[in-house]
Symmetry: C2
Subunit: 522 residues, 2 copies
């Protein structure tokens, strides 16, 4: 497949007339060819008009039609072969094994949503049959299903060029829900985006779907992104990225004549809480495992453990010694973009210069495009007094907060903002205390982990990749796992409908049994 | 029970020190005693602090505990007896049968949510068991449940002093979800509010629950309402009322340091679309039934049919003649408050003065506190050209829009804002055309009704009382029926948890079978 640098507007490919942008080789900072023409407002208009006009036809395809469409996207992505892997490695600096693994995850997500569609439970079909004899008034027949919200804007994420980008979890779940998708590609990986975008576009053609189901836009600035969120035909937004951009989208969406939901995953330092018995029994092991989680993917996961809160005990020295030893042996790793690397280095410098923080250790130094892992230490009082220590440093940096008492531990956790994950390390002897903390952890995070770390987000039914603000814009949602489809659905009731007018899934013959439908006589 | 005019702050009753307000006899405009002391910010602070401190303990009561609490509230409301009915009749002007019916509905809703709690399906328990042998990486055990969002602010509605007020659907569903509730009483029925509030307060005491689970505030102005929505301890808002107040709350909620969801039900004219075969066959009948729906409860239902869009055919004359005849015989009815009556009269006057609108008929005139039903007529071109004709006139007023062609009908429906309901009157010969309109209707409304009207909102599993903005602030939600509980829940995952730390509902022994839990091997 040749990368052309074109916009994909439905089935049409056209060169954007706005400022060009280029992919950049992450390991060298050098421009990759070709240049990508930035979209103009007219291109956005065409994509939105196509999406809006295809919505009704697309959402009334059968769930099996859409399942086959998602599977075709997966097949088409695999069919690109090594070209996709190599371009993605070049643009992201991620190693081959990670990129191949991420491709597997992306394909797996598409197939997961195909299975969700075939299962049908996502429709939450509810049937309340008529009660003509009821007094004082009869009850009419009422049936409920969920339908797609409308065209969805998806923003590619820098740190998952495949799994959270053009055909990532947001796109897969929105398409499954019956919503056309307009993707604004992340400028960190335009070539990867075009390749995947063409795989989706070809699947639209292969499956004979209305062309407006998918469009892909490039833009070097903010104009297209902001106009996309503001466009009246867009009914929801999926975003993974910075807190600044996410909250800006939330503001735009809330200020529209018709406000719409924004699902923004933004900022999380993923606290790790170490309880005393676990610390005493295996402080060294926890320190070592922490470094493994911290440095995975150059620390560029949303679930990277950026904060470790330790209730001090005899194992603390072993913990920090092991943490320091392991960290010093860690290699520097190429970061996603020179800009992200610069931000990381600035963040580390700020921590080094902070008088309330002490360096524990640093990993091996690297070149200008590589992040050097780092661990710092402070105490509860200083952490509570200095809000800048609560902020995410995107990359392999972590801060250990020493708490002398349970009261300090509670104060530190209570002071945290919303998180994607909270991990706790606890042995049986800690359980009584841990149990008292769980309600607080639940209020602070979308996923709690025992004796592990938040990195490694399973794509499954029980996953919540979400959490209270500012981890995400909407704690009621997850962006990973089968429940992610619920973000793009709304319920509709049909009262006293003739079976000749009901959607197939709502008719007696097709309605599933009591396992997934609710058939009640209140 | 004596009405004291006090605020209920947890289990404490205290007189508010802010400006007093009084209930008003709807039929005469006369003040009812006693006066209610308005809440000060210190009272709000106390209520919020109590709610926040009770949240963890309350949400970890068992579902059965909460079910018994809801049933106790229902019993306590019934135990007030005729005092509640009479006070509510006085404050609302609604007739006895309606108030008694609404009490039954209120009690029924509380019991519905008790059954939802015992069923357990609302938790959406999902269990992905560990796959220790999986390659390349094992899968950990991951389990999901839903927990309450946190303390919820509920605003009583003027038009349902029982079913959408202190212990109405918002309160019942939030309490079921495990969320403490702070109610700001509607100033149209403070006495009714206090009586019901004491029933809830007594149930809190009877069931030995933490006192912060419920508080009730009065305020004659906007200060307390706005501060309540802005308070950092409040995590969601339930509201039924005007578009102005609802959108103001949406703005406050979106501008908080931590934005929160607002479930506001605001404005709907509930279009009724009459297709030609139905019009020809039974135009007279439709006109007669329309008046019955229109004048129900003095037209003060959220689902009142304020717009009738007719695709003209031979039955049009019979339709308008029957509409006019029936309407002329309708009695004027006392409206909820003198202010609502004044607004209604202003709305009717504006329609009478509108040169693009023709009066069809008016009901019998009434006194100063009564609304006189009215029906008007315009054509598609004028309706499309004059946006003021799309606005809700709260009360028994309706506007008939004549469409000469299917194209005009589509243009008129397409121009509508979001609605709670769309009714269509269609005979078999209309089905082919109706089928083409259904996708458009689905995009415009939360509930579609065939050959009926939106009034009469069943409390059941399949009900959607919601719809696209501005019908509500959030089309993903319903405020009536068992699905309403989902508004106040968020998912949380537990990874690799010891059964000793898991909530009871997530353990192997207690997890329900595949009917409500998802146990998968992806």
């Amino acid at each position: 497949m040749t990368i052309t640098g074109e916009l994909l507007i439905g089935l049409e490919n056209r060169r954007g007339g706005n400022s060009q942008l280029w992919g950049v080789e992450a390991t060298s900072g050098e421009r990759l060819q070709p240049g990508f023409g930035g979209a103009e407002l007219g291109d956005l208009e065409d994509a939105c008009a196509l999406a809006a006009s295809s919505f009704d036809a697309y959402r009334e395809t059968t769930p099996d039609d859409r399942a086959r469409f998602l599977e075709r996207i997966a097949d088409n992505i695999l069919a690109i072969g090594d070209e996709l892997i190599e371009r993605c490695m070049a643009e992201s600096g991620l190693p081959r094994a990670r990129v191949e693994g991420e491709r597997g995850r992306t394909v797996g997500q598409l197939r997961l949503f195909a299975s969700v569609l075939r299962d049908g439970g996502y429709l939450d079909i509810r049937i309340d049959k008529a009660l003509p004899e009821r007094t004082p008034a009869p009850r009419p027949d009422i049936r409920l299903r969920h339908i797609g919200l409308g065209p969805v804007a998806v923003f590619g994420a820098s740190n998952f060029p495949l799994a959270f980008s053009v055909a990532g979890g947001d796109t897969a779940s929105a398409l499954a829900a019956g919503c056309p998708v307009i993707v604004k590609a992340h400028s960190a990986h335009p070539g990867t985006s075009e390749l995947v975008g063409r795989a989706v576009q070809n699947a639209v053609r292969d499956c004979g779907l209305p062309e407006g189901v998918f469009s892909l836009l490039f833009d070097s600035g903010r104009q297209i992104s902001q106009a996309l969120v503001a466009d009246h035909r867009i009914k929801a937004v999926g975003f993974t990225g910075s807190r600044g951009a996410g909250t800006a989208f939330m503001q735009i969406a809330a200020s529209r004549p018709e406000p719409i939901p924004v699902y923004a995953e933004m900022s999380s330092i993923n606290p790790v809480v170490v309880f005393p018995k676990a610390l005493a029994a295996r402080g060294g092991e926890i320190g070592r495992d922490l470094v493994a989680a911290l440095t995975l993917g150059a620390g560029q996961f949303c679930t990277n453990p950026g904060l470790v809160i330790v209730l001090e005990d005899s194992g603390y020295a072993a913990f920090t010694a092991s943490l320091a030893d392991t960290l010093k042996q860690s290699q520097a790793a190429t970061m996603l973009t020179p800009g992200i690397c610069k931000s990381y280095r600035d963040g580390i410098e700020a921590l080094e210069a902070n008088p309330f923080v002490k360096m524990i250790a640093k990993g091996a130094p690297g070149n200008n495009f590589q992040g050097q892992a780092a661990a710092f230490e402070t105490d509860a009082a200083n952490f509570l007094a200095h809000k800048e220590l609560h902020e995410e440093v995107f990359g392999a940096a972590t801060l250990v907060v020493r708490c002398a008492t349970v009261g300090e531990l509670r104060a530190v956790v209570s002071a945290l903002e919303g998180q994607l994950t909270i991990s706790m390390h606890a042995d049986e002897g800690d359980y009584e205390e841990a149990r008292r903390f769980i309600p607080l952890f639940e209020r602070k995070a979308g996923r709690l982990i025992l004796n592990g770390f938040g990195t490694g987000v399973e794509v499954c039914h029980a996953m919540v990749h979400g959490g209270p603000f500012p981890a995400t814009s909407d704690s009621r949602a997850t962006s990973v796992g089968s429940l992610a489809i619920a973000r793009f659905l709304r319920p509709v009731s049909y009262q006293s409908f003739s079976s000749k007018l009901l959607a197939a899934e709502l008719t007696e013959e097709n309605s599933c049994d009591s396992q997934c439908g609710r058939d009640s006589e209140l």
